[in-house]
Each structure stands twice: as C-alpha cells, then as structure tokens.
C-alpha cells in the first residue's frame, strides 16, 4: 500500500522515464498538451504504473485522466478500494 506522496513520486518518475523528459514532469502537466504524449505513450504509462504499484487496471481506466494529478487521484482511490473501474 502506498501513501499519496509515494504515489505522486511514482507517477512523476514513470512519466519522466516513459516520455524521456529532460526535466521531471509536474503534477499539473497535461499529458497531451504539455507533454505531447500520444495514445500509445499513455497506454505504456499505464502498464508501467501497474508494474510499479502492483495494481491491475484496464487501459480504459486512464481515459479522461488529463493530468498527472488526475492519475494520482485515481490511483490513490484504487489503493483505498474506492476507485470505480471504467
């Protein structure tokens, strides 16, 4: 089980690695506009987060999550057992 701070760090690290960013991503960054991620990047990000966090979720679960913060909120709920699968 991860606390919110740990989840934030994992999401930032995975996004920075997956998208080969020169500087770490910010929680407010949007995937498409700020980070220029395409749909394959986002699916890859989802798979990496599954590996890092040990949670299984579907590709569709990340649809509508526009920023890193949206993903952190979703995963935090998942850890607490409150997330609603897509």
């Amino acid at each position: 089980m991860f606390d919110r701070k740990e989840i934030e760090m994992k999401v930032i690290d995975v996004v920075t690695e997956t998208l080969a960013l020169e500087v770490p991503a910010n929680l407010e960054d949007s995937f498409r506009e700020d980070l220029e991620a395409d749909s394959i990047d986002i699916v890859t990000l989802m798979v990496c987060l599954q590996e890092e966090l040990g949670h299984s979720f579907e590709v569709n679960d990340l649809h509508g999550k526009n920023t890193l913060l949206d993903v952190v909120n979703f995963i935090e709920k998942l850890c607490l057992g409150d997330a609603v699968p897509a």
Partner: protein
C-alpha cells in the same frame, strides 16, 4: 551484381555477441542443460534437456523501458543482433527521436534499404502469456467464488506464475512481422520489409531472398537473418516438439554433455534451444566500395525447393534437397568438389541425419569437411539457418572450422569435423530443411 556480407550480429545459447558465439563454437563448449524444474509441474516430458540463452538485460543494450514492454523477446534479441551487425559493418547511426529511441542511417538511402528476417512463430512468449492471463484469471475468479478469497486459493493461483494483466500490446508483440517492422522503425528504413516463415529454413531463405533483392537492384544493402524465442513459463512450446518425438533425450548414463550428437549412431533427436538471432548486413559491391566497408565473405549462390511430401518428415530420398543443392551450386558457377566445407542442417534426428549424410556423399563425395553448429548450441529453429550462414562467413574469414560434438560413431564414412580444424577453402555450403518441406541453401565465397 556481387553481394557481400559486411556485418554479423549474433545472440545464441553460446553467447550474446558474434565473437563470444564464435569462440564458444571453436572451443566446442556444450550448451546443453536440464530444462527448468517447474516445467515438470505441467507435463511428464520425454526429453528433459534444452539449450538456454544466457541471461539478457535489454537495458544494457540501450533499449528503453517502453521498447521492452512493447516487444516480444524474439524481436528484442533480433534488434540486439542488428545493432551489433551495423556496428561491425561500420554503418553510422544517428539518434532521431529520443522518446521513441529511433535512429536513421545518415549515409544510406532509406528507400534502398531492405529488411528480411526469418522466424517460425513470432511472439510465442507473449502469446502464451496473454492466453495464460485470459484463462487463469477466469479460473481464479471461479476458485474465489467457490472457495472464498482464502490464502489457499491465493497460493494455488500464485503457483501458475501467470501475468496479472493482459498486455495492451499483445497483437503487435505476437505478429511475426513485428521483428522486421521493428528493425525498419528503429533505423528508419523504408525499402522492402519482409518476414519469411519457413520453419527451420526461415533464416536461410530470408538471407537468400535478401541476396536476390540486391541482385535485382531493389536494395543497395539489406539487414537480414533470423530470430526465434521459444521460452515460456509453462514449457508449452517445448512440449509441442516433445510430443512430436523430435527431441534428444538424456543418455542412459545421465551424462548430459553427450546428449547432443548429430550424425552419430547413438543420436536420439535434436536439442531444443531457448532461442537465438542472427543478423547479417548484405551490400552490393558498389555500395560497400563507395562507403569503404570491409567484406567478410561473398554470397554467390542461393536455391530453394519444396518436398511436396509430408508436413513433418523429409522425403526419405531427399530428391528435392539434392535438386536444391545443384540449383545453388549452378548459380554459384562452381562444381561440388570446389566446396571445402558444409555447415549441415545436422539436427540429430534419425530421419534427417541419415538422409543428409547420404545426399552429401552422393553429391559432394567423401572429402568435403562437414559439421553441425546445432551440435553445440542446439536447434534455434527459425534462427538456425541465419546463425549457420554467419558461422560459414566467419569460417571463411578465419579459415577455421568448429568441431561437431559427440561424433563417437559417425553414421557415414565422410569427412566430419570432430576436432577444431584449421584448413584452406574457398567455398562453403550452408543448408537448411524445414517442417512443411522447405529446403534452402547458400554458397558463400572467401574474399
């Protein structure tokens, strides 16, 4: 149009590079090991031996996490071999996209750059992973519904070691053409891009077709070879060959080093390899001269025929194999006695070896030197022909032939190489025969 081999990359059970593989072969280091112990949980195998690959961390070879997630190991090992082949050929690469980790070859015309790779099953590891997730997730749900979410159910399901999620990249990882496509994407090559699926002859045929594409001036240079990866957590791929009774068994005295013995009277089948990849860079004479490349060997002949006999067995008299050999020699413009060394298909099965030895004696006589690379590294299936063509090129370069292991009682009185041999020869013949009935061969010439 003359066609030269200018680069070689290898990933085999004998080593993860051209030089480590070649040295292991020359020294006759036996790669046969016992199969993973947990495979016995699933089936009572007739054969209990195989030839595993060395451990590979693909990050050590410059691949990003994204690529490793999105590609089956058969594609990744072929990319490792391709990177090595380009490096040895001295072909410059420049990074074009850091995120995608893709390159271009600034001195080459991408439209005249081809890719031809042979493979048998494509992403078999991924296919079994997604099947196991798909089926066992249902089994787990039924078990939990029936017996509750108990520690016993958890332990039972954990014993299957199946992936907890179904990869969203399943289709592009499984499809056989992902290997040639991945090479084309990685190096921004827009010429002919093909995968050849001729089972155990795939690698040889892919190189032959690549050679022809340069002869026809469709390509200036080609990345070609073969790749297969057959490991899985359940021994499922291995079982397919085991039930077909094609695999070598443990000798009665338990000496595993004696199990792999092509062309020997006590052979029992072939040793199944976990996987392998070989990539060769082929170039036209004008292309290699223009860029100042160094040729390793020249390809001077290619031929292929089809048995039209059985999906699993070679035609016993080998008429179409013999026709393929003559076709290949004719194209090379040489007579059988000019061939100094044959890298045989040499699997170790009863049917193949006797037929192949008979054909060699009939066509080439008793003097030509013969060995089996499979006697050391096992059978890498779709990669085998490409690995063996690479070994022929290195043999021509060094004028040296690696030993064929465990030839204690040869099945024929012909010139098998059982001890590493330095010799002088100008031409080699590499031949491959496949399930289905595909036969193909290459003649390589010393430069």
């Amino acid at each position: 149009m003359r066609v030269f081999i200018s680069g070689i990359g290898l990933v085999t059970p004998a080593g993860i590079s051209r030089d480590s593989t070649w040295l292991s072969l020359l020294e006759g280091r036996n790669c046969t090991r016992e199969i993973p112990s947990h495979w016995h949980n699933y089936y009572n195998y007739r054969s209990v031996i195989w030839s595993p690959l060395p451990d590979i961390d693909f990050k050590d070879y410059g691949f990003r996490r994204n690529e490793i997630l999105q590609k089956d190991p058969f594609t990744l090992i072929c990319l490792v071999a391709t990177q090595e082949a380009l490096k040895h050929a001295g072909i410059q690469t420049e990074l074009t996209d850091k995120r995608a980790n893709t390159y271009h070859l600034p001195e080459q015309d991408p439209t005249k750059s081809g890719v031809f790779i042979g493979s048998t099953v494509g992403g078999g590891d991924t296919y079994i992973k997604v099947i196991s997730n798909h089926l066992l997730s249902r089994v787990k749900k039924l078990a939990v519904d029936t017996w509750g979410d108990s520690s016993e159910v958890e332990a039972l399901m954990a014993s299957f070691s199946y992936p907890k999620s179904y990869t969203p990249f399943a289709v592009p990882m499984v499809m056989p053409n992902s290997v040639s496509a991945s090479i084309g994407i990685k190096f921004s090559l827009t010429g002919i891009n093909r995968v050849v699926e001729h089972a155990c002859a795939s690698g040889t045929t892919a190189i032959g077709l690549a050679y022809q594409s340069i002869q026809r001036r469709e390509c200036d240079y080609v990345i070609c070879g073969g790749a297969d990866y057959y490991s899985d957590d359940f021994g499922m791929n291995f079982r397919g060959y085991d039930v077909a009774r094609t695999l070598a068994t443990m000798p009665p005295d338990g000496d595993i080093s004696k199990a792999n013995r092509p062309f020997d009277k006590d052979r029992t089948g072939f040793v199944f390899a976990e996987g392998g990849a070989a990539t060769l860079i082929l170039e036209s004479e004008s292309h290699i001269e223009k860029r100042g490349g160094e040729p390793i060997a020249e390809i001077v002949g290619f031929g292929e025929t089809f048995d039209a006999f059985s999906i699993m067995a070679p035609e016993p008299e080998g008429k179409q194999i013999e026709r393929m050999i003559h076709m290949t020699l004719d194209e090379a413009g040489i007579t059988p006695d000019e061939v100094g060394y044959i890298n045989a298909h040499g699997t170790g099965t009863a049917a193949n070896d006797q037929m192949e030895a008979d054909i060699i004696e009939r066509v080439f006589g008793k003097d030509v030197a013969i060995n089996s690379t499979k006697s050391i590294i096992g059978h890498t299936i779709g990669a085998s022909g490409a690995i063996e063509a690479a070994i022929c090129a290195l043999s021509l370069r060094d004028q040296e032939i690696h030993p064929s292991l465990n030839l204690d009682n040869p099945i024929a009185d012909i010139n098998f190489v059982s001890v590493r041999r330095k010799t002088n020869f100008n031409y080699t013949f590499s031949e491959s025969f496949a399930f289905g009935g595909h036969n193909s061969g290459l003649v390589l010439k010393k430069v």
